[in-house]
Point group: C2
Chain length 189, copies 2
């Protein structure tokens, strides 16, 4: 289990990686942010890359676990999709820095570490696809290509971190409802 | 007008920025890629950042100009939306490296330069929003929040650069048709 100091360091890293980008953030910046000497910081972390891996891994694992819970419920596919959209957007909006680091910075990881995050991200796409397959099989959804449709919906939800502003006109729940309406009902009058 | 050498340098930079990321690419890497000494490269470019700005600026300006042409046509809003989706996805897929640099790396620009790209990107969102407003006013679309709906559709289209693979099962036109079907008709059977 992570110590308080380790949690504090990870939070500082998230903040800096989001603001300056992973490459432009030095280990010295992270040490300064938590008020440690650089040498002392290395008692708590292996490397800057390890911190990025830890942040991205925890973020995508959390998204996966929440979606697995939704999928395991007895709800109709339509309600699972509504919950999946609301879950993704509210979690992204409440953790906008972490989500930004996951979605924007993880490609900077070394090949093996990046592959680990990529595999977990592929798992997330699989879970969304599963909701669409369920809705197709139950006759709720008219969908020919569940995976491409899942990628369209997830892409729209993933992009929210780029434009969502806390305290704006619409909160995460409002936006989730608008997204569900669009994907379920379509635009045509 | 850009000389052949300048075009060659910009293409090399796009390739390296996409592969390694902007920060991890050095001016020396770009010089090596085009077979110039670093000192000679500076006859053609001001700085690495200037190259990034030039690449991102050209990419978003191209997206804007194409969408302005679609908007200026006499087509019904429904057909404008279908064209906008196909245009965005086919251009992204045909220029996946440039699109990746625009969407993933532009935040690394300095504040003023980044604001320039941000303003052009906001203009692009405005143009998509305009299509939705036209469709609402003509009675074609059932849409309450045109800008949020535009951001949903554009987000889905923007995300395509992350998963599209040339030579895959579906080409850019196939994917565009699936996206249009989803956004126009919705999932519900």
């Amino acid at each position: 289990m992570a110590s308080n100091r380790q949690v504090e360091i990870a939070l500082a890293a998230v903040k800096l990686f989001e603001k300056k980008g992973y490459h432009a953030t030095s280990v010295q910046d992270i040490a300064d942010e938590v008020g440690l000497q650089k040498g002392s910081l290395y008692h708590y972390i292996h490397s800057k890359e390890d911190l990025l891996l830890q942040i991205a891994h925890q973020a995508i694992t959390d998204f996966n676990q929440r979606l697995e819970t939704i999928l395991a419920s007895d709800l109709p596919a339509k309600d699972k999709l509504i919950q999946a959209i609301e879950n993704h957007i509210t979690v992204s909006a409440a953790n906008i820095e972490t989500t930004t680091v996951l979605l924007r910075e993880a490609f900077s990881l070394g090949e093996n570490q990046h592959q680990m995050i990529q595999d977990l991200s592929d798992r997330y796409v699989d879970l969304w696809t599963q909701i669409l397959i369920e809705g197709k099989e139950s006759g709720e959804f008219n969908v020919v290509h569940p995976r491409i449709t899942a990628l369209a919906i997830l892409g729209a939800c993933n992009w929210v971190y780029r434009w969502f502003r806390a305290g704006g006109k619409y909160d995460a729940k409002d936006i989730s409802a608008m997204f569900s309406q669009l994907f379920l009902e379509g635009l045509l009058a």
